[in-house]
Assembly symmetry: C2
Homo-oligomer: 158 residues x 2
Amino acid sequence: MNTIVEVISPEKLLSHWQGHRNLTRKVIEAFPEKDFFEFSIGGMRSFSALTSELLAMGAPGMKGIVEKQETPFQENSQELTTKEQYLEKWDQATEEINQYWSKLQVEDFNETVNLFGHYNFPVIENILYIIDNEIHHRGQGYVYLRALGIQPPFFWER
Amino acid sequence: MNTIVEVISPEKLLSHWQGHRNLTRKVIEAFPEKDFFEFSIGGMRSFSALTSELLAMGAPGMKGIVEKQETPFQENSQELTTKEQYLEKWDQATEEINQYWSKLQVEDFNETVNLFGHYNFPVIENILYIIDNEIHHRGQGYVYLRALGIQPPFFWER
């Protein structure tokens, strides 16, 4: 008999993350073009700016983890000027994340990597931070959508 | 040599969650008493109502998982009428979660449990859902605080 003796496998953690990324993609799609770039509450960043942060963390974070690079964190939001461009970049990142992930062995998750030359933590902690940060900012996007009178996608739709 | 061959240990996942719960506690504390119960944006629930949901999921969810009960989900927000009562209940839940968690073996995370008689998924998926749902709603609390002109705690403060 084969007993599974792990809390979560690398494959399942990836599909958990990609499920969240799929939901975030739906939230991006739900914004009207103008509001994606301009709407905000209480002096916060627009959802496009928040999305730029997520894009700068996801695939580049995985690259840094897998290649053990310490390239500083860098957002390139000025490059993207339409929702369509964000969605394209989002889908590219989906592929890149999958590719980098396939190079991680289960032992690697407990190795310490100095992500972005700044976050010197075990790989699993850096990855959970990236996922949690996405959930956090997407939750803020839900409030923006509600304030705009738009029904956000269901939280459990992945 | 002992090589760690797991993505995350049960102990680390618990401290990850309790770190998030500690941050959520700070967000509750940051609300003025009145706004905790009354402030909302776009027809959403107040942060006290969101906190009631989190309280109904955390410790009761762990109880359901450990005791394999299918007790339906039930919020008792009407019972709590001050922020102080919420914080007390939050701290009780911290202890209860720790106690239930200590009864979980690593093999249990892949067992399927019909949480609240409705969410028939592996334990790890139910637990991640509970954590992610907390991050999601707390992110919404951040927007409420910003809209109220209050600086929320740093996201990385756990």
